[in-house]
Subunit: 391 residues, 2 copies
């Protein structure tokens, strides 16, 4: 085993990953992290998981960046009886596209998250109380710098690849632009180089809905459950934007959730699509902190890889990593055109860039669903990076 | 002047319409109207406006059906100093596409509305209190039957045309299917034959947001302002769905609403798109009742012209009116495909049907904006109907 073994939870079984979340803390006083905003934040704890083993050269590390409501539990189970594997378990594991027999996979909860990484629900050491809305606004760049600190701690100087979709794809692009000399390849999925007005619009409606819930109480609800209704409704809206008209039509159509025909003319009747959304909303509330949701949506809104770098094209010009954009034809939240635009910009600049598109009626979330299409794309890309390094 | 002249507010000026809202009441006890649900409702007052004069044969009447937040004030001003003409004033008036020198135009506030027609804010005669959420669920068919009662009162047996967009288009289709022998032509715009799962999904999020506002109070807020915040947020969401990603990008992009650069990293910063949406939300609250919004959205959700008629195709088979569907290429709430589908069904059935499409980046609301494209379409269609009748 290598030097840093104690910091890694590696797969013990060739057939199934058993994992655990680890924690790393940095930016202790007086060395707080200076955020992009200029605010200081510390200490910062990062919750992370790793799968597979780091090789001798420490050259087989792949970072997975999660989306808005994702977390560090990207793959595996916490014990044999665990019924819910990580959110990308179909992609990560022994013999899977991100093969833990060959690669060392790292997945961490983002800054501002609520699954162990420092966020609004964490205790502010200056007050002894949860930060709540006094948590400083952070950016996708800050998320990436926190991930970099984790990698420094793990003594990983170079990443073979960074992969992620949606907000994860934003982190991927920030990685590529911020640390161009330390990554071999990047795979941003269903994402954009800057948040669009339409994306900001949906995020603002979701924020306003959470804040409308009296239980939000200006963010001061800990240790209570908080604005469960507001967060649930926000999630319902989010789910609409992650899917497609076609999918909803095929899957739910106009079927009523309950079969009693007299319900049709009741105000409180429900179509199946409504029941589905309520279910999704209530499910998220059990595992997610509303203030984290607010801050992460804000981080997406102010995300712009061109900011302070002379614009989108100049920022993309910094990238040295081999880049594979993956879009989804039915994604109307982050339409393929955004990624096609970036691909064209990079092509003009003679970058090693490619664009591939999933055919799916699942919409934005297809990258979490269409494993048959995702698997060869990811496997081949990572394989090509590995071969280029002689791994 | 004809017999019913006192019931009409006709144009006095050849250049500008001066109008007033009139009222008509029917369904008095014990002859309440039996709604599609089986519930009885009465008395029902209808607020309406008319423009132009009815001809001797009473054969030049055109009914305009309004959308969700529209009303009976389709055209003209209430007095010379009035700065806000009706919502389709560009289309209706002397010399305009719906020329009041030739046609008699009727526009009424829908059942369940809040601008004078009986709705949730009206007094329930049985209790002496506003209905609130005890108002019965009504349907688009019920709206149309109330309009039919108004036409009976005006002694108009036949309509030259029924025109409307969005929820107005649903009424148009219901008219065509319910009263096939009493209409010469129908012009449904940016609409569908039944609400889709995606449409129901957005409506449910809007309803939940209104109901989340503590000021909603189960609908018992009269004579107070009611759930202003909840309704405002619902409207913000509605506005997103009525426009397009492209429009928002062109019009607002990522510009900040305030120029102070240090605002960028504040949680309460605002992009221009956010300010625009807040403005639209606050504007609606001043003129719209939240309970009406809830009921009208529900009426749209349960709208299905095929219900109880053997399905969409069979319902469309009843239509005898010349039909012109108008879609909008950037409309993702009621995509052109829905209207193309209905056109094809009617073509197969040898109906006099046509489909035209507006080219616009304005999205669903283009029918309220793209007058240069709308004008010839509407003018030509109505003219052809008039010529066929020798008007």
């Amino acid at each position: 085993m290598n030097q840093g073994a104690s910091r890694f939870s590696t797969a013990r079984s060739a057939r199934e990953l058993i994992t655990k979340t680890q924690h790393f803390t940095f930016a202790n006083s007086p060395e707080e992290m200076v955020l992009e905003s200029g605010h200081r934040l510390g200490p910062i704890t990062v919750a992370y998981e790793t799968y597979g083993a780091l090789n001798k050269d420490r050259s087989n590390a792949i970072l997975i960046a999660h989306a808005l409501t994702g977390d560090q539990h990207g793959a595996g189970k916490y014990d044999e009886s665990d019924k819910h594997p990580g959110w990308w378990d179909d992609m990560i594991g022994p013999g899977k596209p991100l093969d833990t027999n060959h690669f060392f996979i790292i997945c961490s909860n983002v800054l501002g998250g609520c699954r162990g990484t420092t966020g609004p629900a964490s205790i502010n050491p200056l007050t002894g109380q949860p930060y709540g809305m006094s948590f400083p606004v952070f950016t996708v760049r800050d998320m990436v710098r926190v991930q970099k600190a984790l990698l420094d701690y793990l003594a990983i100087e170079r990443l073979l690849c960074v992969i992620g979709g949606s907000m994860g794809g934003m982190q991927v692009l920030e990685w590529a632009v911020t640390y161009p000399d330390q990554i071999d390849g990047v795979l941003p999925i269903a994402t954009s180089g800057r948040m669009t007005a339409m994306g900001i619009a949906f995020n603002e409606v979701m924020r306003q809905t959470i804040m409308l819930d009296p239980a939000w109480n200006q963010g001061n609800y800990y240790p209570g459950a908080g604005p469960a209704q507001g967060l649930s409704i926000a999630r319902m809206l989010g789910m609409i934007t992650y899917r497609s008209d076609e999918l909803f039509g095929l899957r739910f159509g106009r079927r009523m959730a309950r079969s009693r025909p007299d319900d049709y003319y009741r105000y409180d009747n429900r179509f199946e699509i409504e029941s589905y959304l309520h279910y999704q909303g209530e499910k998220l509330v059990k595992r997610f902190d509303a203030n984290s949701y607010l801050y992460l949506c804000k981080a997406m809104d102010i995300y712009d890889i061109g900011r302070g770098r002379g614009g989108l094209a100049k920022a993309l010009g910094r990238i040295k990593a081999k880049t594979l954009f993956v879009g989804i034809d039915s994604d109307w939240l982050y339409p393929p055109s955004y990624m096609v635009e970036m691909t064209k910009i990079m092509e003009k600049k003679q970058k090693a860039v490619e664009y591939k598109e999933l055919k799916s009626h699942h919409g934005h979330d297809a990258f979490l669903i269409e494993f048959d299409q995702m698997s060869p794309i990811i496997k081949d890309f990572v394989q090509s990076l590995a071969e280029a390094k002689g791994l």
